[in-house]
């Protein structure tokens, strides 16, 4: 790529970030850094490190991030390797089912978990029924779960991110390398650790960093377990505190800086030699037909992981069809009325259309921006590109409310970005908000793809007279399609399920996305949770059809990803 084009892309992405990420955050957090008379202060920052409760919060958050990441890799890596090696029964469907945690809708997901793991929940009812638990002394899984429970629940929610990224990386590995190792007497685990893992490191790193940052700053799961001593919950509590003290904003900044630090450290430790040394797979991999034992192992692992990961979804599904469900394994009274009420609700139809609109445009923006940023970071030597790379990860770490209030303030009348509200329609700012927050998925996937694809292919094309931009479009992008699809799928699913920006920025009912409709339904008196669950189930089915549909239509390309 010509240097001038690289610089243009670089500046464009940098300006986008400055305007729609740094500026809105600063707009919100500046209170903690300015005295009433307008001078700079760091007293609030100092207070964080003097207070053992906040220091402990940061340490717990770090553990939450670290152990969740390890947990996700332990779940996802074996599954991806199995799927990469063997042809087994029901592979296509199992490969889709394994992604199920991606589609858990917000608000009702927590209700589903409580229904399963509560003291009078399904799990305890089951244990009591089989005689393993005294009904007079049920175990309090959520209350006693603490950090371990949070990490386990996080890992079971986030492993698909690792799975998608590792699978995409495996799809890019040239089987000839592994065969060569095999021929030279390097088998089994030795080959895994010396050949395969180093070659898929870009994908592994991409998945692991997203999971780390996500879980380091995760809010919902610790709240379900009432585990309050983590930074994310402390920020949430502080922001909602009536006293209006700017202190939580200082905490936000510390969390962002910590995220940057951990990301750069991780990159320094694990990500130094990520660039591709050789060409890509020239030949397709031939999958081994699974022996009966291998078949049992593959099917067993996939079914096992899916069965546990699907529990919150089951909770939501059963809630949506239950009339009465208390202290028993299954509901005692069933009904379909909640679906009729929820889908027939005046908010529903509009919100579905809105969500589709917002999420798909945002995903489009993400793919373009993601390719641009990843290209600058991986393919150019421009100064400061590593910083751009790290900044692109930060949207994962910003508390939703902080960014949302920043966007709100900057788009009001008389403010510099008021043109982003069309009449009263917030679609532009919502799309930007969604895109900024989902950008890391696409940037990481695209960067992993670029790293695994040797630049020599593009150079060869350019030598033959192909212009730089055209060589990117014609040569590299098709080669990294699997990565882009993986990132795009993540971005789309999570955009459909976005919460904070939607709650604050979609003010009028006509502009509600589906998550805000779920939020509104949850609050209905009495059967609200059931109605919200019904709409949540609809959203899950829709996302499931979209994701598997994408798999079916994209066929070969996604096949490369899933080895189907």
């Amino acid at each position: 790529m010509s240097r001038s084009l690289a610089i243009t892309i670089y500046s464009a992405t940098a300006i986008f970030f400055a305007l729609f990420f740094v500026y809105p955050i600063w707009h919100t957090v500046k209170e903690a850094f300015l005295t009433p008379s307008g001078t700079i202060t760091f007293e609030y920052i100092g207070e964080i490190f003097l207070n053992p409760i906040y220091v402990e919060g940061l340490i717990n958050s770090f553990y939450m991030g670290l152990f969740t990441t390890i947990g996700c890799i332990l779940i996802a890596l074996p599954l991806a390797l199995l799927s990469n090696q063997w042809e087994f029964k029901g592979k296509q469907i199992l490969n889709s089912l394994i992604l199920i945690p991606l589609i858990l809708p917000p608000f009702v997901g927590a209700l589903g978990i409580r229904q399963i793991l509560g003291q009078s929940g399904v799990f305890n009812a089951l244990l009591t029924q089989v005689g393993l638990m005294d009904p007079g002394a049920p175990f309090d899984w959520l209350g006693e779960g603490r950090l371990f429970g949070v990490v386990l629940m996080n890992a079971l929610h986030l492993y698909p991110i690792a799975y998608l990224n590792i699978s995409a990386a495996l799809a890019n590995v040239d089987p000839a390398m592994e065969e060569a190792a095999e021929n030279l007497g390097c088998h089994g685990f030795r080959r895994l650790f010396r050949i395969t893992l180093p070659m898929i490191m870009p994908g592994l790193f991409a998945g692991a960093t997203i999971i780390f940052i996500w879980s380091f700053t995760e809010l919902g799961v610790p709240l379900v377990f009432d585990f309050t001593r983590v930074t994310s919950v402390q920020i949430f509590d502080g922001i909602k505190d009536l006293s209006g003290n700017p202190f939580p904003y200082a905490l936000v900044v510390v969390m962002l800086v910590a995220t940057l630090f951990f990301y750069l450290t991780g990159k320094w430790l694990f990500g130094r030699d990520l660039s591709a040394s050789t060409g890509r797979a020239a030949t397709g991999r031939s999958l081994k037909q699974a022996t009966p034992w291998a078949n049992a192992l593959c099917v067993g692992s996939f079914v096992g992981v899916t069965a546990i990961a699907i529990l919150p979804h089951l909770g939501v599904i059963l809630l949506s069809v239950s009339e009465r469900w208390y202290g028993t394994i299954l509901p005692t009274e069933w009904t379909g009325q909640h679906f009729i009420d929820a889908l027939g609700h005046p908010l529903t139809l509009n919100s579905i259309g809105n969500s589709l609109k917002y999420a798909s445009i945002a995903t489009g923006v993400n793919v373009i921006l993601g390719i641009a940023i990843a290209y600058v970071v991986v393919r150019t030597k421009l100064p400061g590109r590593q910083f751009l790379d790290a900044i692109a990860m930060l949207p994962l770490a910003v508390p939703g409310l902080v960014l949302a209030f920043g966007y709100l303030a900057m788009t009001r009348e008389g403010q510099p970005f008021d043109f982003l509200i069309l009449g009263e329609n917030p679609i532009l700012i919502l799309v930007i908000a969604y895109a900024v927050r989902r950008l890391p998925y696409v940037v990481r996937s695209a960067a992993a793809g670029f790293q695994q694809t040797s630049v020599t292919l593009e150079e060869a094309a350019q030598n033959l007279g192909c212009r730089p931009l055209r060589s990117l479009m014609k040569i590299t992008l098709p080669l990294i399609a699997a990565n882009l699809i993986a990132g795009g799928l993540l971005a789309f699913s999570f955009a459909m399920l976005e919460v904070s920006d939607s709650l604050i920025l979609a003010e009028q009912q006509a502009h509600f996305p589906i998550t805000k409709a779920i939020y509104a339904l949850v609050s209905s008196l009495g059967n609200g949770p059931h109605l919200a669950s019904a709409l949540g189930v609809w959203a899950m089915v829709f996302l499931a059809v979209t994701i598997t549909g994408a798999g079916l239509i994209l066929g070969k390309k996604l096949g490369a990803l899933f080895r189907v």
């Binding site: 008379s37 505190d241 079916l552 066929g555």
Partner: protein, 556 residues
């Protein structure tokens, strides 16, 4: 390929067709293009929104032959609404300030324009003509700038595109009123709560809507907000869980929540995030003071001092029993109903709704709701008109409707009863005293509840603890919420050790948050507006309690 695409499209069509097929017929006509729009920001739940929107549009059509559409705005609960309004008004004032004064809009300007305490000075300065020309302000005179910012705001008709603020607690509304965001009348002087009071003076008599009941304000003295419905905190409990934990009967007073058998089983609302929850904790203190005065014959001053300290001990124990402090009003009764907590603090209509929801064929429910004996006061849930409302006349009509006899029926009539709500029983006690007639009771979901009778059993004394309202939240945060982990561990250690007296005494040591300390030291910091000092004090207090709890855990 074509086959695959058609399979996927067919599947998508099936999924998408369901909401289309079930969409309500009425969805389109409520939003006719010629309909006038009323914008209301509210923390009220969806059931209340839909019932009032339906009733009000019907009322406007029948009585005034007008098409009206209610545009509800709900950025979250009361805490998000407060933040939302602050952000919205301050960006507007910022633009106006920079335009009129050509001066930068500082952090201090932002605090000043919404500072109700400046109002007297602003009045005086305006009368003396000191603020006539805003371009002549002295940028080095912070006092003058503050008054100018406040005056500019108070004399403006800046709006944020929202007409009404509906629902929350009297505390939230008085905050908004003193900030200047709520107004008694619009710019024309014809519409608004105060104009309504002129149109219906009889409504605001003691016989129908008294200004205050048992010490609680039911409306603003300047008519910037009016109560529309009543609410109170009580205790909800799960009788299955209580039986399992060895309780022979239900709970009836706040003290019961401190029973060590309830360790890890109490669900609490968070006083730092909601004014009405702080109020509930304040009630607990006031009940204690009253009891000390009546039963032990203490003087008022002694009763207040001792009552505060005893209540702090009680709150420490209740908190040690608790699983969490939540800001979601619906979470507590839901967790109690599901048996995930045995008991909790909960708002009356949620408690009653969940009691009803879990009624079995024998008409018995495992969820009960009680109002603690002599420990609860009734608060008003208000409505107010926002500054710069775009449809003040419609806003006026809406308030009028909510307070009218017809509007009040929506709050407590059974669904489908004449004049009642259509689909949802809202189960809330209306504010109008003349509503509680035998004739109406026949249609009410809660005919036995007369909040005015309940209120008689208890009088709120603002002079006892009212001025420590912010400090109360603060001490609960420092002593209970921040060191909650250590507090629970210490409490469990004490329970396991058989509640040794000296350990309990150490646990109950409230000397650093006693009444005297709160009045002399803590309250001063809260009022100083020095946010850094507040954080430092919080750190000091929380560390003290944390060390206490650590020590107990390690020695028992």
């Amino acid at each position: 390929m074509l086959l695959r695409i058609s399979i996927v499209l067919a599947l998508l069509a099936i999924v998408l067709i369901a909401p289309f097929a079930m969409r309500p017929d009425t969805a389109s006509d409520s939003r006719q293009s010629d309909a006038e729009r009323l914008v209301i920001i509210t923390p009220h739940n969806e059931s209340i929104q839909s019932e009032f929107a339906r009733a009000f549009t019907r009322h406007m059509k029948q009585k005034h032959a007008r098409n009206v559409f209610v545009d509800w705005r709900q950025p979250g609960g009361t805490s998000e609404i407060a933040r939302f309004l602050r952000s919205e008004f301050s960006t507007r004032v910022e633009t106006l300030w920079e335009e009129k004064t050509k001066l930068p809009f500082r952090q201090s300007t932002r605090d000043d324009f919404s500072n109700g305490k400046l109002d007297e000075q602003v009045k005086a300065a305006t009368q003396q003509g000191l603020l006539n020309d805003l371009t002549l302000l002295d940028r080095n005179d912070p006092e003058q700038l503050a008054l100018a910012a406040r005056a500019l705001y108070l004399h403006s008709d800046i709006g944020v595109g929202i007409d009404l603020f509906f629902g929350g607690g009297a505390y939230d509304f008085s905050k908004q009123a003193s900030a200047g965001n709520l107004v008694p009348v619009d710019a024309s002087g014809k519409y608004g709560p105060s104009a309504l009071a002129k149109a219906h003076p009889e409504w605001f008599s003691d016989a129908i809507m008294p200004e205050e009941v048992s010490g609680e304000p039911f409306r603003d003295s300047q008519f910037r907000w009016l109560g529309t419905v009543l609410s109170s905190f009580g205790i909800c409990y799960n009788s299955d869980s209580l039986a399992r934990l060895g309780f022979e009967s239900g709970l009836s007073r706040w003290d019961d929540l401190a029973d060590p058998r309830l360790v890890g089983q109490v669900a609490l609302a968070d006083p730092t995030k909601s004014g009405s929850t702080t109020k509930a904790f304040e009630m607990l203190i006031q009940e204690r003071i009253q009891r000390l005065q009546q039963e032990n014959g203490l003087t008022e001053a002694d009763a207040v001092r001792q009552g505060w300290d005893e209540s702090m001990r009680l709150i420490l124990k209740i908190s040690a029993n608790s699983r969490y402090f939540t800001d979601s009003a619906a979470k507590v009764p839901r967790d109690v109903a599901l048996g995930d907590a045995a008991a909790g603090m909960c708002i009356d209509f949620y408690g009653r709704t969940f009691n009803e929801l879990y009624r079995d064929e024998n008409d018995e429910s495992h969820v009960s709701f009680v109002m603690p004996r002599a420990g609860t006061s009734i608060g008003a849930d208000p409505i107010g008109m926002l500054r710069g409302a775009t449809s003040p006349e419609l806003a006026h009509r809406f308030i009028e409707f909510v307070l009218s006899r017809a509007g009040q029926k929506i709050w407590n009539f059974r669904p489908g009863s004449p004049g009642g709500p259509k689909r949802f029983a809202l189960r809330r006690p209306p504010i109008r005293k003349d509503f509680y007639t035998p004739e109406n009771q026949a249609h009410m979901t809660d005919p036995d509840v007369n909040p005015y009778e309940i209120a008689e059993g208890f009088t709120y004394h603002p002079d006892w603890t009212g001025s420590q309202f912010a400090a109360l939240r603060f001490v609960i945060r420092c002593a209970c919420i921040e060191p909650h982990e250590e507090q629970r561990a210490a409490w469990k250690a004490l329970i396991d050790a058989g509640m040794p007296a000296e350990g309990l005494a150490e646990f109950e040591d409230v000397s650093s948050i006693s009444y005297d300390v709160v009045v002399s030291e803590i309250d001063a910091v809260m009022r100083s507006k020095d946010k850094v000092a507040e954080i430092q004090l919080a750190r000091k207090l929380a560390s003290q309690f944390r060390d206490h709890y650590h020590h107990i855990t390690n020695t028992h």
